[in-house]
Structure formats: structure tokens, C-alpha cells
Assembly symmetry: C2
Homo-oligomer: 71 residues x 2
Amino acid sequence: MARNIAIKVARAEKDMTQKALAEAVGVSRQTINAIEQGEYNPTIKLCRAICRVLGKSLDDLFWEEECEENF
Amino acid sequence: MARNIAIKVARAEKDMTQKALAEAVGVSRQTINAIEQGEYNPTIKLCRAICRVLGKSLDDLFWEEECEENF
DNA sequence: TCTAAATGTCAAGTATATATTACTTTTATT
DNA sequence: AATAAAAGTAATATATACTTGACATTTAGA
């Protein structure tokens, strides 16, 4: 999976730490970190929660154009 | 989880069966059925694959306003 | 520079997304 | 009505999202 810079940026815009975002959406800090690092593939429910907290859309934070690594 | 009517509609627009969509995105037919029935919570990667095949955005197919059942 | 907070990472465990097989029910066609 | 395809559903198995706890590294403020 690709690293997710968009979440990091949106977090910065809201001045939230990984820990604060994790608490706001109800997952562990490591989960947020792993998502930003592209280490796993969150569920849509968690994606939606992150979007709500950060005030962004799914397309803003989780869309990716396809590239080799998706194959 | 809420039933996902949007996928069903988008599938109808493309005249695709659950089986055809499943094959196009590389999962089992039961997985597509369960997602449409709201029985589980797909990963973002699968959501993206479904969007690409159906020519829709994540926001088109997977956004949900929050309601009691999300709590 | 010292310190603390924030971030990155690892290992082991648990919960759940997804697969597979198989069966029933619904919908569409003849 | 008879048939077949499509959709719904259930049980068991496996892969992986996510947790917890712990530690290392980076970043920011005093």
C-alpha cells in the first residue's frame, strides 16, 4: 500500500497528533501510524470515521490512482 | 452496517451481476453480496477496486451519514 | 543541551474480512 | 408451470486489520 500523506496533512491542518486522532476515532495510535505508513488497508468504517474527524471526504483522503503496486 | 443500495444501483447501470462484479474486482460473489447486505465492512482497497469497475467515486458508493447504528 | 512529546517500529494476541462449499429463495425466460 | 440464472444465506477455514505493550528515534520547547 502507498503511504497516506493526505491524512498527515489533514491532521496537521487540525493540529492533531496521531494519538489524538486515534482517540477521536476509537482505534490505537499504532493503527493510525500504520495507515499513514501504508502498512495496512483500513476498513471503510474506519476511513469514514477518520474523514468525519478531519473534515474531509473519502475521495480527499483515501482515493488512489492505480499503479503497478496494485497489481 | 447499513445496506449498500448505491452499489446495487451502480451495478444495474452497468448491467453487471454480483458474480461479474466479484470476478472483476477479484473477490468471491459472497463478499459482494455481504457488502450489499451491509453484513460487513470492506477494506478501502476493495472499495477502490469496486469504484474503478463501476466508474464511481468512493463518496458515491461508500459515504454514509452518521446515524445511531454507528455508535 | 535537556527533556518530553510525537512518531516509528516490533512481537504476540484477538477480532473480523474474505474464501470456499453448499444450499435455499427469488427473479426472469421459455 | 418449468427451468435456469441471480441473489441470499450459513458453516468452517484462513488471512489480515487492529490491539496491547514495549522500546527506539525524531521533533519541538525550555
